[in-house]
Each structure stands twice: as structure tokens, then as C-alpha cells.
Symmetry: C2
Subunit: 430 residues, 2 copies
């Protein structure tokens, strides 16, 4: 068989040509398209398809982006002592992310047969499926075990203050922490996982993957608020992602942020839900726990999901209609000095685990190891998640059904501009 | 607030009315619509939506059904000693499955506030997403620890012969076995998980869930064969599900089956893939391992995915173009007395695990705990999976990258008819 007849080489050349076309398209796309995280449909290459989200912009994508159906979240530890290695990794991740989010292989394929292909190819032929890749820096990038490995400690944002230990926390080390994180979201689990896998390969020698959790979120037919595994709508009264004023007030770091301006802070927590226990509860009790009606999503005592919480309303006996320790009451801005966070949570399913229930009927055995990968974004965690969750962790009636089993805190820098890289404003400081 | 003004009650009444309509629709749908497992689009109820697959039929759905994007597989152990309890469970599962696959709650909701709702409600408002529920009976339903609990042992099919221990098997008990199984498939992970969760609740007191594994499969834009996590097309040269003659020959039990006629046998095996190891291999080596070209899917030495395997072709040096121990050669019907099985595999992702690699670079640490939930269907496992896999388990070059970590063998009875239940032909025998 002559080389020109080799279908593999011909197919390869087509892919390379197509990739070059798509890269050119991506390079001419306006950077500001992503500025407010709105969906773009720039899928003009034959290799991408479906909707694609721009990677470059004022803010990172994946925060104000309309939530996709799937997430693959991964946290990494840095194994290098050299600042330039970290910069090189962030440059490589940025370049790969710009390609992956346009439906290309992570790194351009070549005809070099002497080494492994730089892309595992399992996403070849798939739609881009609105892939977004959102990066964060954990406290350990600034100081680890008292050591300032990269000369960054003086630039650690005050807002990146270590989370306190909350009441009820059962954080296992294998699912906690991380010095870098990636939130990969897409409308296809294989696209999200593929992206993290390629980025993980690019980190060999510089960072190792520490923990990971995938999740899903099912959009209702009416495009309304999705339900989590407790069967309740999850995300009512969220910060409106399309309202720039709200986003600037609650989510994006402002002038106070220095190099973090236009960035945001992420708290990620896998929260196990004791589904078998929850399922044994009566509807009326579940609704008291949440403070909302299960079917409509309306606050107790109200009619519609988006009605305000009538926190002062009492029933005929003089008891509050939304109980004192109901989930929504404790989380309400009215009870937290106006604090609001952008929730972007996904349900997760990790199969089964052997679990000893803490409550009647005291079951021990294999149970669903499932729950909520809670992810939230905020301008300052001290006045966001910490403020809100401190009270919840102590008093929320929901705590008998949920357990925080891991988590991380990350500073998500502003978006990168073409030719730049994620985190550049930090690493250019001296 | 008067009762008629209560939006919860009004919403509930709407749901009940709608459910009744949908049930009437389902009851009048021709049973034979599912006879060959083809997709039906009978979503005429306001509560269902998207495509729905009929539950009743000559064969169970989920075998010859065009593969959906997601699976939730679960195996159960029977905890009862009474045959009538098993029958009651199968009746309850059948009734719930008929409802769930039409987009209804597992059990009709009532206004009974004295007990927990019979549906967790997390799939409310979602599309039906082609949900199928496929049931199987493991060897332990017939004999367990030498005991014939339900008087069924004399009816155990010869084809349900315990699998041998294969070379390389690393089956952990927590992911192996089961006396009942459910394969829930849908184009939405939450719909599949929701179904198994409701069925698991209906089993309380009769059976407990033993192991579970979810998975996904991403359909390429060109509607071609999906790629698994190795980056290769998985499912080329499969038994054609729309060809009745092939299905009858290789998949459905025939006259020889007795009560199993029109049923089939399932082998399910979670197979971990050492992705980090595989990703370090050169493309040419990966292709030698598989025996196919990675990008096009064509057999080595051929041009197109669907070209036949040129098993006798040699290169200029006289060596076979498809290596002696290539995956496709060992699995080819030509080398297995014509054996063929219907593969219906899904990729899985269980996050990370601490893993000690067996091969250079001898890495130990957190690695992707991911792979393939291999599921196959056949008329007789002895001449299907066992025949094919025996040789593969010993010689397949792929074995250095994959490990079978669990699994089960199940007799999947024929489909149920309206008013009947799954497994009825077995339990009506004396």
C-alpha cells in the first residue's frame, strides 16, 4: 500500500487541516464574546459542533455560563518547587483549554510516531457540548506547610482565608483540598472527563491529580429549576447570572481584588445525602426541613417558586410557617446580612458504599453513595459561603440527612486574553 | 387558606389526572410495539415527553433497543425465604416499570400524608428519555449455598452455568454476583438512577441492593460507533439489533429455552482501564493491541470500519498484519467457532482511587478509577461470552491495560405481557 493510499494518513491530514481552520476561526472570534459568560455558537469548524463556549474573556467561563448537564471536577497538588514550572503548566492548560472548548484535540496531533499521541481521542467526533474549563488556585499555591514555594504568599488574597472547620464536617483527606482545580462542565460527561484527562496529562511532572468528582444535572422540560436527588428544586432564588449588577455585587471580585479583579472564589463540597433515610420521611416533614413545597418549589405558605420567603408569617397556632431551622430560612439573605452566593451544584452518584446509618431504622449495609457536589461562587467567601454555612452547619434540620465529606476553596482568577494565560496577573507581580 | 386555594393540592390533582390519562394511553398501546425492541414514540401524555420505550412485549426492552446515553446497573440479593415474596416483588417491579418507562411516578401518588411518598420525585418534570428497565435472575435465585429457597432449582436453565474463573480475574465481592439485576438505561443519568432508586425501595424486606455501577456512552455527531475511554470505536461488527434473524440466532433464547424462550443471558463486568498507562503508549502500539486503526476504526490493513478482518493477511516480512494476540483477532467469530455476542457496553468513571500500576513507570498514587462497564447479551453464555473470553483472558495484549474487577451472570426472562409480570413463565411452573 502506498503512503498516499493509507486511509489513516489521509484521515489524519484531514483532521490537521480542519483543526487549523478551526484555530483560525477561534483566533478571530471577539474576546469580549465571553465577557459576561453568555453562550456563543461559534461552531463553524467541521471538527467542533453543537454549541461552543468561548474560552477567553474578561471572566472565566463556567461561572456565569448557563449550567451544562455534566461536570467533572478535579483538584491537583503541585509537585514542583519552581515558579516557572507552574507558569508553564498554566500556559499549557490555557492553550489546551482554548482548543478543547472549540472541539479540537488538546494539543495538535502530528504524524510523529515516536511518542504517544497528545490526545486520548475518546472525544473525537463528539459535539463540543458547551464545554467550559474553569481554573482555581487553592491556598497551598501560596503557602504549603509554612513554605512559600513560588514567592506568591505576599499576593495571597485576604478573601482566600482558610475555611474554618464547620460543625458536622466529615472531610476525608482523599476528597479535600488541592492547590489547583479544574471545573469541567459540558452537556456530555465524556467531553468533560476527556478534557480533565488531557489536562492531567499535561501536568505530569508538575502536578498530580488529588481528588475528582463527576456530577449531573437534569434540565426539566419546562426549562425550570432542576431538582436534586432530594426531589426538591435546587437553585431557586439564585444570583441571576445574566444580571451584571448582581454578578458584580455578589460574584466577581472588584477593585478590592487586585490581581483577582474580575475573578471569583469557589467553594466545592461533595455532600453525601442519605437517600434511603430521606425517602422514608413523609412529604410534610421533608417540606418542613427544606422550607419549600416539594412539587411546586414555592416557599411554605406561598404559591409560586419565585415568591419571596414569608419569614415572618405564622400559622393559626402562632408557629412560623417556615420553621426556625428550615434550610431556606437559615440560608436566606435576610438572616445573613444580605449575603448571597451563586450556587452551581450537581448531583453525583458514586454507586454504593457500606454505610452505617445514624438514625432509625439504624440500617447498616450497602447504600447509595450519592448526593450533591455543591459548588458555589462568590466575591468573598468570608462574607459568602462561610457566613451562610456557619449557621446552617449548626442548626439546619437538613443536617440529619446530609454530610459534607470533602471539599476545597479556590481563587478563580479572571479570564485570560488571547496570547495570555490563566493566572498571568498574579505571576507577573513581583 | 382554603383547601381549594392550596397550590400544592391543585398541583397534585393535576399530576394525578395526568397520570391517569397516561396510564390509559399505555394500556391501549399495542403490546407488539416492543416485540423487536424498536423505539416507539408514544409520548402522548403531558407528564412524559421525549421518546418513550414500551415496557411490555415479547422481549424485554433494553437489549435490542438502540443504546441510550446512560446506564445505571444494579444487582440485588434476595433476603426472603418465601417464593411468594419474590413473586410479589416481581409484580411490583413490573407495575412500577410500566409506569416509570412512560414518565410517571413509580407508584401513583396519593394525598395520604401519613406515610412517605412512594416516589422520590427527582425525575418529576423530566423527559422519559427512552428509559428501559431490563431484569435478570442470577444463579442464586435458583440455588444459594446449596439451598433451593424457592423451589426453582429444577428449572434452572443449563445455559445459566456459573462462569469459570478466568485468567486475570480480580473480582471483588462488593462488585460481583447478585440474585436479581436491573439494567436501567436512558438518555439522562438522573432518569436511570431515579428508576433504580424507586425499584430498590419497593424491594425493602425482600431484596437488598448489592452492587451498582453507572456509565455513559457518547454518540458521535455522525451517528457512528461510539468511542470508549481507550479512544477506539467500541461496537464495530456487533450483532445487528434490527436484524431479527441474527438476534434469534445469537441473542434470544429459542425453543431450547423453555420458560426462557424469547429471553436472553446477560454477562455484566466492570472492567477497569489503566488510562494513565494506556495514554503513554504510542498510537502504532495501541493499534497493534486492538487490531484496528484508532482514528477510522478500520481493521489493520483495511480502509473502512466495516471492512472484514483480514486475518490471513501478512506484511512484507511475513508477519500477520493483525497480530496474533490482537484483541479483535482473539474475539473474531472465525476464531471462536462462529460465536457472537451482542455487546452493549458503557464507559464508567468512579473518580480516583489509589492504585499501584503494574507496569513502567511503576506509578503509585491517585489514578482515574474508570473503564468500561461491559454488558453483553447472548443466547447461551457457554457458547457466547465464555467461549470468546476464555482465550482473550489468556492471550489478549489488551490485558496489560484492563482488569475485570467484578461482574455478574443473569438470565433475563422474556418480556412481560400487560397484566403479567417479569419472570411469570418461571414462577408458574411447579
Amino acid at each position: 500500500m502506498s503512503e498516499s493510499d493509507d486511509p489513516k494518513l489521509r484521515s489524519r491530514r484531514r483532521f490537521l487541516a480542519s483543526a487549523a481552520t478551526a484555530a483560525a476561526v477561534a483566533a478571530t472570534a471577539p474576546v469580549t464574546a465571553a465577557a459576561h459568560g453568555r453562550a456563543a455558537t461559534s461552531s463553524s469548524s467541521s471538527e467542533s459542533g453543537g454549541d461552543s463556549e468561548p474560552f477567553f474573556g474578561l471572566h472565566q467561563a463556567g461561572v456565569a455560563t448557563m449550567p451544562q448537564a455534566n461536570v467533572y471536577f478535579a483538584a491537583f497538588d503541585l509537585t514542583t518547587e519552581k515558579r516557572e514550572d507552574v507558569v508553564a503548566l498554566l500556559r499549557a492548560w490555557t492553550a489546551a483549554s482554548a482548543r478543547l472548548t472549540q472541539g479540537l484535540s488538546a494539543v495538535a496531533l502530528t504524524d510523529d510516531s515516536a511518542s504517544a499521541e497528545p490526545d486520548s481521542y475518546d472525544a473525537a467526533g463528539l459535539n463540543t457540548d458547551r464545554l467550559t474549563l474553569t481554573f482555581g488556585f487553592g491556598p497551598g499555591m501560596f503557602t504549603k506547610d509554612g513554605k512559600d514555594r513560588y514567592g506568591l504568599d505576599k499576593h495571597r488574597p485576604e478573601a482566600l482565608a482558610d475555611l474554618p472547620r464547620f460543625n458536622g464536617d466529615q472531610l476525608v483527606p482523599e476528597r479535600t483540598g488541592g492547590e489547583l482545580c479544574i471545573q469541567a462542565c459540558a452537556d456530555n460527561p465524556q467531553v468533560a472527563f476527556h478534557a480533565v484527562r488531557q489536562l492531567s496529562r499535561l501536568a505530569y511532572g508538575t502536578a498530580t491529580i488529588r481528588w475528582a468528582q463527576s456530577g449531573f444535572m437534569a434540565a426539566p422540560k419546562d426549562k425550570g429549576t432542576p431538582r436534586n436527588l432530594m426531589g426538591f428544586k435546587d437553585g431557586s432564588m439564585n444570583v441571576p447570572i445574566r444580571d451584571e449588577a448582581s454578578m458584580n455585587r455578589y460574584v466577581w471580585a472588584g477593585d478590592e481584588g487586585g490581581w483577582m479583579q474580575h475573578g471569583t472564589y469557589m467553594v466545592a463540597r461533595p455532600i453525601r445525602i442519605a437517600l434511603e433515610h430521606w425517602d422514608r420521611m413523609k412529604l410534610s416533614f421533608q417540606e418542613q426541613v427544606v422550607g419549600r413545597q416539594k412539587h411546586s418549589g414555592a416557599p411554605l405558605g406561598q404559591k409560586n417558586e419565585n415568591d419571596s420567603l414569608a419569614l415572618d408569617a405564622n400559622d393559626a397556632s402562632g408557629n412560623p410557617i417556615i420553621p426556625e431551622n428550615a434550610h431556606v430560612r437559615l440560608g436566606a439573605p435576610e438572616n445573613n446580612d444580605g449575603a448571597q452566593i451563586l450556587r452551581r451544584a450537581y448531583s453525583y452518584d458514586n454507586g454504593l458504599s457500606y454505610i452505617a446509618e445514624r438514625w432509625p431504622p439504624w440500617h447498616q449495609g450497602m447504600e447509595f453513595d450519592a448526593g450533591l457536589l455543591f459548588i458555589c461562587y462568590q466575591r468573598d467567601p468570608r462574607t459568602g459561603f462561610v457566613k451562610i454555612f456557619d449557621k446552617m452547619s449548626k442548626f439546619d434540620m437538613m443536617n440529619q440527612f446530609v454530610t459534607h465529606v470533602g471539599g476545597g476553596l479556590f481563587a478563580c482568577p479572571p479570564g485570560a486574553r488571547e496570547g495570555g494565560y490563566i493566572g498571568q496577573p498574579l505571576f507577573e507581580l513581583t
